[in-house]
Amino acid sequence: MTSAQAPAGRRVLSALTTGTPVYILLAALLAALALTDPGFYEPDRFLSFIKRAAPLVILAAGQYLVIVCGEFDLSVGAIVTAGVVVAAELYGSFPGAPWLLVTVILLLAGALAGLVSGLITTLLRVPSFITTLGMMLILEGAVFFWTGGSPHGALPAAFRRLGRGTAFGWLPWAVLVCVVAGLLAVRLMRSDFGRTLLATGDSERAASLAGVRVARARTIAFILSGAAAALAAVLVGGFSGVSAQAGRGYEFEAITAVVLGGVVLGGGRGSVVAAMAGAFSLQALFTLLNLQGVSGALESTVQGVIVIAAVALGAADWSRLRRRGTEPSGAKSS
């Protein structure tokens, strides 16, 4: 190695620039929000914005793990719905159950769904698009078959505190959960496991020949995605109570968020921070459209255009600009 060590500043820069478009998009949307609604940045309102974004951010982090190792998870929306319904059902049967226990059960159940998807994908070699599509049908079908279409219990206040309540009277628990989950995701991606996960998404064969347990790594990604979806279910259920369609559309939103973050479908590339920024952008976009009073109908049109445009900008050749900044500093020799 002949070139000098990359200075820390440059490394931060290059880490940021991999997701440049999403940070620009997010900044633009947040600025637009400030212009539309001057009160948006009052602490409690901004916190409540983050609180609302929290489930999607967590889902995006989970989805990122799956996408970055080259797979898809279309079942997260169904896991969210199933999670909320199952929680209600549990409380229907055991009204006094401690919230922590129910939460843990949900997380384990989510992880189990992920485990099944992961094993089917890796051991039976079913493309994950199909596995998780099937899982989505199965989960939705099974949960409603079980409950006859409507969950039987209501969610008690204790369980709903994570999604609805505040710590210290001002900090929504959901924000705290979101921050912790985000930090864990970043930690994970910096760990050896995270790096091998990326390598797996980049080249499965190379990773496997380097001793990576590819199937295991992928399965873990699915498990984490399932658990993240269950965590999102706890927040969603807490925030808004029982609903039979709590998770509807979340799978596409989560994937869109991740792709907005510059993460490449197919794997091997992109950062989890950018993926979560993608989720924030999406939520900011929803909020903005809502505040702008764009007629309900056209909202989805605007959303479609912006998503395509943002991803198109991300796909454009930004690397040209980036490379300038990271021109080798050491002289070539040898």
Binding site: M1, T2, S3, Q5, A6, R11, S14, D192, F193, R195, T196, L198, A199, D202, S203, R205, A206, A207, S208, L209, A210, G211, V212, R213, G268, R269, S319, R320, R323, R324, T326, E327, P328, S329, G330, K332, S334
Partner: protein, 495 residues
């Protein structure tokens, strides 16, 4: 008939070609040589319409062209055999050969004509082992190479570009290819021939153009020059002795790896011992089972019979991870598909093994990684550069660094210098010998006999999935080939 003038090209702000010029006569074989990353393939890709040059002109028979799509280059009579195959594995040979220019009848593809013409072309090349309807994935590497050539010849080509056509071939097959090249040239085709094998360059070409760091260094008449001059032009300095000194007697130490009557679906009766400190070469024809041997030792396609021990302990690797844990490393023959995560950084690739298999020790920290990369003499823009942007030789060095980080005890090299330029090759050779000195057991599989003979302390020869013989250091190429082809089996094989 072809002139390229002042061609420049940069990728991502890095200049890869700077004002390169080249001309080609009809009936001429014009060789293009240079180190890895010198820009040879890029120049050829510009000619083939794959890349648009930033600057420069291209004229064929006095007409200026500017290709923005490979189809346009084809229409202008340019055929190219790519360094990496451009074949579709699940389609038939005929479909591949006529891809992009399928003959039609009544608007529909005329399969029959396609297959007939393919059969004719195959027959013209004395290739009887391939039928037009075979799916390509059923063919061996050498035969895929043939399909590539047929594909290039299927349209009306006047200029044929061959980018390292022999990289995947054994010497003996390379000779067949050489005679084909001569025949084509005699028919009046202009042939641009890219290769790292100087011997065949001198054998075939009338002129040699040398590129270095994206610049045109010289165009020489083959008759008026010699290998040393060309190498000096390529590398920019004298290369010393080609191969590092072999192991001194007694340097080979304890048995590191032994196999007794190992075998599986592809190979059988393997008895093998590797000792610490020695470099053992494996020779053989294409398909003789050398790669299969390496894959068996490494647990990819494990032995199903026999026993294997590493450092005296029995080992039955059923997947690469087992072998890695036991201290075995494999540098595969296809580094892009099997050796590297191309979009990850140099560092991440170098650390991959240690991260995946913590049993091989903690992943080295930043400074140690730098030391490691210096040790393999990597030339890169930075440790965070994605390896896909490195030249082939430097990519190979990253692969080696990846294994060194895991402190292996046995190193298996499958075609370690395939597609690697002379300079980098020498560096790798030196490194291999250093590693052996440090007590590793090294096994080298190579199709390039001079290299194999130059490097090995002893040479195993494989034939038809068996170890057909063992030759001492310094054996002659003829003796190796004799064992490798072994009697009448050789004739059967030379299809």
């Amino acid at each position: 008939m072809l002139t390229m003038h002042g061609v420049s090209k940069s990728f991502l702000g890095v200049c890869v070609l700077q004002g390169v010029g080249l001309d080609l006569e009809a009936g001429e074989v014009h060789a293009l040589v240079g180190e890895n990353g010198a820009g040879k393939s890029t120049l050829m890709k510009i000619l083939a319409g794959e890349h648009l040059p930033d600057e420069g002109t291209l004229t064929i028979d006095g007409t200026a062209y500017s290709f923005s799509h490979p189809a346009q280059a084809q229409a202008a009579g340019i055929g190219i055999i790519h360094q990496e195959f451009a074949l579709l594995p699940h389609r038939t040979v005929a479909e591949n050969v006529f891809l992009g220019r399928e003959p039609t009848r009544y608007g529909l593809v005329d399969r029959r004509a396609m297959e007939r013409r393919t059969a004719e072309l195959l027959a013209e090349m004395d290739e009887t082992g391939i039928t037009p309807r075979t799916p390509v994935h059923e063919l061996s590497v050498a035969r895929r190479q043939t399909v590539e050539i047929v594909k290039a010849l299927a349209s009306d080509v006047r200029i044929l570009v061959m980018d390292e056509p022999t990289a995947a071939l054994a010497d003996h097959e390379a000779e067949q290819l050489a005679s084909l090249v001569r025949r084509l040239a005699a028919r009046g085709l202009g042939i641009l021939y890219v290769s790292h094998r100087l011997r065949e360059v001198f054998d075939l070409s009338q002129r040699i153009t040398v590129l270095k760091d994206g610049r045109h260094i010289a165009t020489l008449n083959t008759r008026d020059t010699d290998a040393d001059t060309v190498v000096r032009a390529m590398v920019g300095r004298e290369l010393g002795a080609y191969y590092p000194p072999r192991a001194r007697p007694g340097e080979a130490g304890a048995e590191r790896l032994t196999v007794i009557s190992g075998g599986n679906a592809r190979i059988s009766g393997i008895d093998l011992t590797l000792r610490a400190g020695e470099v053992v070469g494996v020779a053989g024809l294409q398909g003789s089972g050398r790669t299969s041997l390496a894959r068996a030792l490494f647990g990819v396609a494990p032995f199903t019979t026999g026993t294997m021990t590493v450092d005296g302990k029995p080992l039955r690797p059923s997947r690469p991870r087992d072998a890695v844990r036991a201290g075995i490393a494999l540098v595969t023959e296809d580094r892009k598909a099997e050796g590297l995560a191309l979009r990850q950084s140099v560092t991440d690739n170098a650390l991959l093994v240690t991260r995946a298999v913590p049993a091989r020790g903690r992943p080295p920290a930043g400074r140690e990684v730098t030391a490691l990369l210096e040790r393999v003499r990597l030339r890169a823009h930075g440790e965070d550069q994605q390896v896909q942007y490195l030249s082939g030789g430097n990519q190979q060095k990253v692969v080696i660094a990846k294994w060194l980080a895991a402190r292996p005890r046995v190193l298996l090299f499958d075609e370690p210098t395939r597609g690697v330029d002379v300079g980098a090759k020498a560096a790798i050779h030196t490194l291999v010998r250093e590693l052996a000195r440090e007590g590793l057991a090294v096994l080298i599989i190579s199709s390039e006999l001079p290299e194999l003979i130059g490097m090995s302390d002893r040479i195993l020869v494989m034939s038809e999935g068996r170890l057909a013989g063992e030759l001492p250091a310094g054996a002659s190429e003829e003796s190796v080939m004799r064992v490798a082809t072994g009697g009448n089996r050789a004739r059967e094989g030379a299809a």
